[in-house]
Amino acid sequence: MTVAATTAAAATAPDPAVRRRGDFTNVARAELAKLRTVRSTYWTLLVAFAANIGFAVLAASLIAPRLGARDRANVDVVRLALAGLHLSQIAFGVLGVLVITSEYSTGMIRTTLAATPRRRTLLAAKALVLSGVTLVTATASTFAAYLAFQAALPAGIFAGTSWSGPGVARAVFGGGLYLTALGLLGFGLGAVLRSSTGAIATLFGLLFVPPLLLDLLPGSWKSAVGPYVPMESGGQVYIAVHYDPGSLGPWGGFAVFCLYAAAAALAGFALINHRDA
């Protein structure tokens, strides 16, 4: 027993050669390493960039020149430029889902929870790393998209498209914020449902079904409920000037959208300690 005790002490005593890092930092570094070392991360980001930039160029070269004078006055330039967000939001949402559900689908969750038995710490680290990576890449993609839009835009169609135009910088940055919150929404759904297909289907449902349903509702319902549905509320943050009628405004709408993401994430946090791996 003495041999065992000595060996145990020797094996668990901190190695003085290793810099002591906080536990959370360790988990976060591990989660970042996980994200960096799978191809799906890079494919997802590639799709997102291609969608944002590609649609920006299309909008600038095909849609903008064909707008009538009245449309030109009413269309929001940044919203037009960031048309690709409808597609890239899927990419970022799926990225958020996969960050958590891939662990369950491969069975690696058991290895992960053996390495980090403190489950809420694990989820928090995943959420933090996901948000950080998404914020940086999504914002880069929206800025790149807007630059591409400006470059491809024939001269003289719009006024106020420069970076100093009203709400432009905020809206472009808001596009990055929207995609980040969307990634977290996917993450929360994935943590609750623990299934890739289930979470992605639910994400699609939350985003695309309410607008369809709203069109079936009487007008009073539509104007009361409409501004609060996920895509409608969150979508205001990447509009520079011409908000939808009756909308909650960019930051009000984004706050509501963040509530959706927070609700999903908090549900995930609540459930993870009460279920077997």
Binding site: V27, K34, T37, E103, M108, R110, T111, A114
Partner: protein
């Protein structure tokens, strides 16, 4: 040391683990045996805190698993080698594990070399054979240099060289004073590797014993004697209270005494001995005997072909 106390786990109406109590000591290899569905994997998952017990407790070196800040430095476990993200390389899989517990990166290359995967570090895990995936899982268990090691079917898929290597590795780890706990269905390997055994069936403890003790008490153990004077020796032994039977090849099958007594008796009476050996039931036979009534998934009854017993 792993201490399991009155551990139970119920899934709805099914009781997978039922009041298990046993101890896995340091400095020895302890085998965890039981039929399929006996609750071995469930028990191991509860040791690691993956499943919450319905009742009872399990501690590792005095603390529950979740109480350790850097658990990989305390317990190294291999539960399911194929439960890895296939798109990652072997090196990257071990890298995130090392980072999560503050283990130096240099350990990754070290353990890859130790398990014989030094050249496969850059290959994607999804393309690994079962044997390679097992080796990677073993590498992951060794990563934190832990005093407690837990393996679920470690020799699954390994070639003979790998099987021999694992046996040597486990015995060396136990000799260093570490706690080695492994479950396996490969009885012949278990007999060579384990010092102690915990046998479970239908979620309950059937036996907790040393391997040597288990083998020594086999009901089918006997002494095999070949002598030019079988009738005379047989009569002498029967007079001393032993039971003697004749084998088909003319040898005597003696129970109720020891080989030493038989040999001494022959020497004293001037009888020739051509062969004198103590025949033990194999671990497989002893195990099947113990768990006959506890098998969850019973196959159709066939006459079992007992593996030849080397002794």
């Amino acid at each position: 040391m792993i201490e399991v106390t009155a551990l139970s786990k119920r899934y709805g109406a099914v009781t997978a683990v039922d009041g298990l109590t046993f101890t896995v000591p340091g400095g020895a290899v302890t085998g965890f045996l039981g039929p399929n569905g006996a609750g071995k994997s469930t028990t191991m998952r509860m040791v690691l805190g993956l499943d919450a017990p319905s009742a009872g407790s399990v501690t590792v070196n005095g603390k529950p698993y979740a109480g350790y800040r850097r658990p990989l430095r305390e317990v190294g476990a291999l539960l399911d080698a194929k439960a890895v993200a296939g798109g990652r390389t072997a090196y990257n899989h071990l890298l995130w594990l090392a980072l999560s517990n503050g283990i130096p990166r240099s350990r990754v290359a070290e353990v890859l070399r130790q398990v014989g995967l030094a050249t496969a570090g850059g290959k994607r895990v999804g393309g690994f054979s079962l044997g390679m995936a097992q080796r990677l899982g073993i590498a992951a268990a060794l990563l934190g240099d832990p005093p407690v090691l837990m393996f679920d079917e470690p020799v699954n898929g390994l070639d003979p060289e790998g099987v021999a290597w694992i046996r040597t590795l486990l015995r060396a780890l136990a000799a260093e004073g570490r706690t080695v706990f492994l479950s396996s269905h490969l009885m012949s390997e278990m007999a060579l590797t384990a010092d102690r055994l915990v046998v479970v069936g239908r979620g309950r403890l059937i036996a907790e014993t040393a391997v040597a003790d288990l083998l020594a008490t086999g009901s089918g153990n006997y002494i095999r004697v070949r002598t030019p004077e079988p009738g005379e020796l047989g009569a002498l032994l029967t007079a001393r209270g032993a039971t003697v039977a004749r084998e088909s090849d003319g040898a005597l099958r003696v129970t109720g005494t020891t080989a030493d007594v038989v040999g001494e008796l022959a020497r004293v009476r001037g009888l020739g001995l051509l062969e004198l050996s103590a025949q033990q039931m194999s671990l497989e036979q002893r195990y099947l005997e113990l768990t006959r009534d506890a098998v969850e998934y019973q196959t159709d009854a066939l006459a079992p072909t007992a593996a030849p017993t080397p002794k």
